[in-house]
Amino acid sequence: MTKTPQPDRRWRWVLARSLPPRDRAFLLDELDDAFVRRASRDGERAAQRWYREEVMGFALRVPDRGFRGFKHVLGGWMMDGVRQLLQVTRSLRRSPGFATLATLTLALGIGANALIFAVADHAILRALPYPDSDELVAVMEGWGTSLGTLEILERDLTTVSAIGGALDATGMTLEVEGAPARRVSVSLATPSYLTAIGVAPVLGRPFRPEEAEPGRGGVVLLSADFFADSYGADPSVLGTSILLDDERYEIVGVLPEGFDLPSARNDLWIPATVDGSPANVGYHWGMGAFSMVARMAPGATPELVKEDLLSAQETARLANPLWTPPPGFWDDAVISTLQEARSRWARTPLMVLVGAVMVVLLVVCANVANLLLSRSLARQRDLAVRTALGAGQGQMARQQLLEVVVLAGMGTLVGLALASGGLELLRPLLPPEIPGREGIALDLRVIGVTGVIALFVAVIAGALPAFRVTRQSPGDFLRDAGRGRTASVGRRRTTTFLVTAQLAAAVVLVAGSGLLGRSLYNLSRVDPGFESEGRVTARLDLPPGLPGGAEARALFFQQLEETLEADPALRDVALASSIPFGTEWESMAVFIPGVTEDPNDLPVVQQRRVTPDFFAVADIPLRAGRGFERSDELGSTEVAVIDQTFADRFFPGVDPVGRTIRYPWRDATDIQVVGVVGPTTDDDLASDAEPTVWFPLGQFTNRLMIGHGIVVARGGADLTASLGALQTRARDFDERIAVSELVTYPDLLRDSLASARLMSMLLLIFALSTLVLGCVGVYGVASFSARERVREIGVRMTLGAHPSEIRQRMFRESLALALPGGILGIAAAALSGRVLASFLYGVSSFDPLTFTVTPLVLVLAAMAATYLPARRATRVNPVEVLRAE
């Protein structure tokens, strides 16, 4: 026996709840019966579909006792709305071209906003993911402090309940059995640093306070990424130990995914040892690079913390046994919320982008408003009939609005899809200055805001057409529709206004993008003072256990250099302690006899230590004196080469060669300046060269030994092969050398422009989008006017007008749209150009070239958009047209 088919249980459940109790039983039964009849006649699938429609019918139609859920939550008027919604959906389905175009346009605007908002929200707006994160402040933002100072602040500050410090991304060599040694980034954090932030390990335990004491450390916390990549997220790794710079550390915990303090670069955290004993005085007071985070006590504000800090200033100043800073040295210290401090660098560029996407959104609004106007015109007959049948204008305006809401809803869905695709493309390109970039996602918060944006768009775009509907009297409707006439003067004016506004907005973005593009071009042509083309670089960290004597180390460096140079893929090799655009940064306070002698006011200059060939390999020109030679070695006279910037600043008008400089320490020896080289820029192509002192690497000036060498080598034709050779040769020389930062020098320079490039690329995309939308507007107006005046054109052509005259007329009309748009846009761009000023290099925010080319681009684009309609208009057969009349 076959089973009797039955309606889907869930739908029957919905039906049961949609029916008035009095009639529930018999209606359910009757529909069951009817379902069986249908199923035997049309098959079960058709019957199920029929049943669903019936259920929807009851849920939506039965007015007083409709579907209880709906009714109770939404109320009757909402049911009305649902009904209208269905009507709107049906009407949109009847014009798929319009619906698609409008949806895509909206999706573009909404998607771009969702994407940029998601980034900005994470970087700037969102509260940090720590308990009571509004209590967290960055103390002396941007400055480093020594552990000695930190101890005083911990003791003396009353406005904070906890304060800690951390060193960011110290490179250490991680040795693992059976694998080549490798470099990892380690943050040295005081236990109080992590407790102040309130971050709890997801696995294991945090540092204990006593682990900051000398000899008590030896524990390590892993970042979530490191835990996953190196240990496959296997929890049994807790309690095992790793070898870092030849010392054992026990793994005690794993920090949460995305924890990025002091920065996202760290793989590991180890306790900073707070040791104020005389033997450690140099580190304790001299290592002034700890960034501090504090948790404010209840009721405190960043301003109060600053006052507190200033009152502790004098104690801290006099406590430093190494040197005595000048009075008031903290006066300029900045105390800001951690949230603000973290996002400081990302703020301005993101705000510019937020501005840009909002302009895109407004253009999208104008565009959709225009589309709606055209559509309402096309549907005039329909509207006229409905008005005649008594449909109120309010009702029709409401329907117009509802239509936009539906379109905006669809646009939001498509836009979110676009944004999520865009986010995946964008994520790897985001510069590290944007905090929390791994965590950026289109979550509920972003979707919520996107929804609000979409609603805003719907209201803005829908209001105008809806308003026009209410303004027109039914008589107008009927008259116009009856005559087959279309545009009224008012509508034309509205459209012209909208298109002009779009073009003006497009000009603003195109001009901005042009300025950024010019600036980027200028930057890429800046001469950094050395040659990067054809060079490769890598960082080599020496084995931690290497014999410590200066002689041995000097020999090691020399042999390393010779080994590398033996490879045919590496012509000319030099080693350095740091290189321009590299990750290492060295500075020194320089004492220059006769020039800078006040110990409290010594200038801080850049220092680098290099092997003799460095200047030749990097093509840094020698301006005076000599470069380094092999004879500048341990035991011989300590020498230095200064750069032109140094010479100009501290030896103006005198020959620096033969003068001496000194480290600021009491027992420091004289170092003789033997030469002057050209200036080099560092890190940022837009910045000027800093005064720099170069020392011979092997001379270990003032006994400063380094444990790493940064290789710069002139490579062969194939730089990838040179990089490979560099790695192999270094490992062959000593397998415990950790090779990292293996990169071609041009890439290093390119990377420094990554954020500038990303920003101008995004702005370009937005600018082009608005330009295209503006052109769609022009196209719409042109093709509309061509259609509208088909008769006029027919008559003119019959009377002997040449097609080119008619085309010219249409081009003139488009020009009349483009010109005011261009002028308005240029004015707006000039006003908003100042926002971009801080991003520009070598180009003024009123750059004449950009401000000339942009309107030309606009006019050309407008002409291109007119071309098709103009050609179509002149292809009509006049006889046909007149006959149709």
Partner: protein, 109 residues
Amino acid sequence: MARDGLGELEHQTMLALLRLGDEAYTAPIAEELEERTGRRTKVAAVYIVLRRLEEKGLVTSVLQEGGSRGSRDKRYFQVTELGMERLRRARAAYASLWEGLDSLLVPSK
């Protein structure tokens, strides 16, 4: 007049109800209408119309309990005398309107 008049669906529903006689339940009425008019008619719409007609006193209904033997609940509808009167009037009105127009109904060409 508007108050007295019959809506199209009301009119059709009452006719379907008369045609169905003993089988005049809500769902079959919808099916009958669909079959006769060739237009999709939702049971819900018919249900609403029937309730309105009942409120106006044009139809009455009786609930037949299914009882224990597995047969089901049904609400059986009947046109009242008042309803019949309305139908007659409506028919007369249509008939008078149609008078003399029959020739127009022959499809041209």
